[in-house]
């Protein structure tokens, strides 16, 4: 390995984590409060700073200063480990997502591995450990129920998640996420093939299975991030907060952080897979000048922000599913749809001329 790669990688990691993701997480909380307030005809936080913009800082200070309480009967080691496990996967996943084209010749992805999407799924599937451990180590009934719900929910929806994106990779022919973006630049976004060879009628034929794929994937991501309408592991009304009932102070904040980081990661994946990643029609990539490289990054995060808004919008619109409905939906509905969708796309591809 050469030192240039190491230095740029480190710069990318630090930059993306501390400059983009963490502030984004804290302001996602602020945005969530503002969006929910607007949807419910309220004002939302407006006390700390202009329009309440310093609210995340105040929240963070408050959470840091709160008493860090460990229940006497809790299993201390795992109790402390769980919040860390909850944040980590969401942040690691960002490593394989291309968040820009190139900047001064450096590709804007931390690790451009050839199994990108599998890496995402593998690491995301580890996220459940944080929740399950939190529920178990608290040694308290509501957190325990939350942990149990979480693990079964994760297993159920991981299947649909994986199956839903297979059509995309059937088309692209590679699991590398940069290839996915590149394919979309050439052949049009999967969700809306209005760039590239949109005159090809076969592409239009593929639009229907792509939309199905998109819907199933987005719903599965909702379930994976424990967002409403699938937030059964925390379900305040039934489980008094679920797995983080017994947590306070910064440990609680870490769970919070984890949830929002997972939401950002999920949005980034959706943007990459279906919305052309950093690509926007008419804007050239970073090889035409560093300014375009920056614009590409901005485009990517604009897409992410828009998707985060959709996450919030859905949360403040839909009620929570009942547990049996959730399970039925996952196993009897999305699983089958995703499976059939693969066959349809495969069949179309088999007869697609000049692929």
């Amino acid at each position: 390995m050469d030192s240039f790669l190491i230095i740029t990688s480190l710069l990318k990691i630090v930059g993306i984590l501390f400059v983009v993701i963490l502030p984004m997480v804290s302001y996602a909380v602020y945005a969530e409060r503002k969006v929910s307030a607007a949807i419910q005809d309220r004002l939302g936080p407006n006390r700390v700073g202009p329009a309440g913009l310093f609210q995340p800082i105040a929240d963070m200070l408050k959470l840091l200063l709160k008493e860090d309480f460990t229940p006497r009967t809790a299993n201390t080691f795992y109790y402390w480990l769980a919040p860390c496990l909850a944040v980590m996967p969401a942040i690691i996943t960002i490593a394989v997502v291309p968040f820009g084209s190139t900047l001064l010749g450096v590709p804007m992805v931390i690790a451009d591995v050839n199994i990108g999407i599998l890496f995402v799924f593998a690491i995301a599937s580890l996220g459940v450990y944080g929740i399950v451990l939190a529920g178990w180590a608290s040694n308290s009934k509501y957190p325990f129920l939350g942990g149990i719900r979480s693990s079964s929910q994760m297993i159920s929806y991981e299947l649909s998640l994986g199956l839903a994106v297979i059509p995309v990779f059937l088309l692209v022919g590679s699991l590398r996420l940069t290839s996915v973006v590149q394919y979309q630049i050439e052949h049009g976004w999967f969700i809306a093939p209005f760039v590239g060879d949109w005159l090809n009628p076969w592409k239009w034929l593929l639009a229907v299975p792509m939309i199905i794929s998109f819907v199933v994937f987005v719903i599965a991501i909702f379930a994976e991030t424990n967002r409403l309408p699938f937030d059964l592991p925390e379900a305040e009304q039934e489980l008094a907060g679920g797995y983080h009932t017994e947590y306070s102070s910064m440990k609680f904040a870490l769970f919070f952080l984890g949830e929002y980081a997972a939401m950002i990661t999920g949005s980034a994946i959706i943007a990459t897979l279906f919305f052309g990643g950093w690509h926007f029609p008419g804007i050239p990539d970073g090889s035409h000048g560093w300014i375009f490289g920056l614009i590409n990054i901005a485009v990517f995060f604009a897409k992410v922000a828009a998707l985060i808004f959709v996450f919030m919008w859905v949360r403040w619109t839909l009620p929570r599913f009942r547990y049996d409905q959730l399970m039925r939906l996952g196993w009897l509905f999305f699983f089958e749809i995703a499976l059939v969708n693969i066959f349809i796309v495969a069949a179309i591809l088999a007869y697609l001329p000049n692929k």
Binding site: A122, S125, I148, S151, S174
Partner: protein, 167 residues
């Protein structure tokens, strides 16, 4: 790859592998196994076998062990944590394990190519996903199909066995 990383992950695997056996708490054992799997995955990745490595994490750590943990928690094996260690059985197990290790060393030691250095991999940055797919669906297609049918039969069997008779 860096020998340091190899030793680090190898040791991690061994330590947590032992922890799986030694831990009295089933949950702790399961989690140790997860860490051990992660070490194994890291070793695969270090050999540029990204696909195998990540599948290791995805399937074993991400799905199988979650199911295990789920079951362990639901069963609530508190008595297990208090059970006395049978020292005689432990000694026997260690003896058997040692004998196995000795045998392996003996066999490997008499293996001709063991004395030589491994030749470097032909194409380090190959697309292993494509290679594995091509292999599975060409040379090994029949075994793959047979395994598929076998797994299907097993699944149906499990559902049949675990289904409660309607009253």
């Amino acid at each position: 790859m860096s020998p340091f990383l190899f030793w680090f992950f190898a040791l991690m695997m061994l330590v947590f592998g032992i922890a799986v056996v030694v831990n009295r708490n089933p949950v702790a054992s399961a989690l140790s196994l997860v860490v051990s799997f992660l070490g194994l995955a890291a070793l695969f990745v270090s050999l540029d076998a990204y696909f195998i490595g990540i599948i290791q994490v995805l399937v074993y750590a991400g799905a199988v062990m979650v199911l295990f943990l789920f079951i362990i928690m639901l069963l609530g094996l508190r008595a297990e944590a208090r059970r006395q260690i049978n020292w005689l059985a432990s000694a026997g197990a260690i003896a058997v394990a040692l004998a196995l290790v000795l045998q392996i060393f003996y066999v490997v030691g008499h293996f001709k190519s063991a004395g030589q250095r491994f030749p470097p991999l032909a194409r380090p940055m190959t697309d292993d996903v494509r290679n594995i797919g091509a292999l599975l669906f060409s040379n090994y297609n029949l075994p793959f199909q047979i395994i598929g049918v076998l797994v299907l039969v097993a699944t149906i069997g499990v559902i049949l066995l675990s289904r409660r008779e309607p009253r």
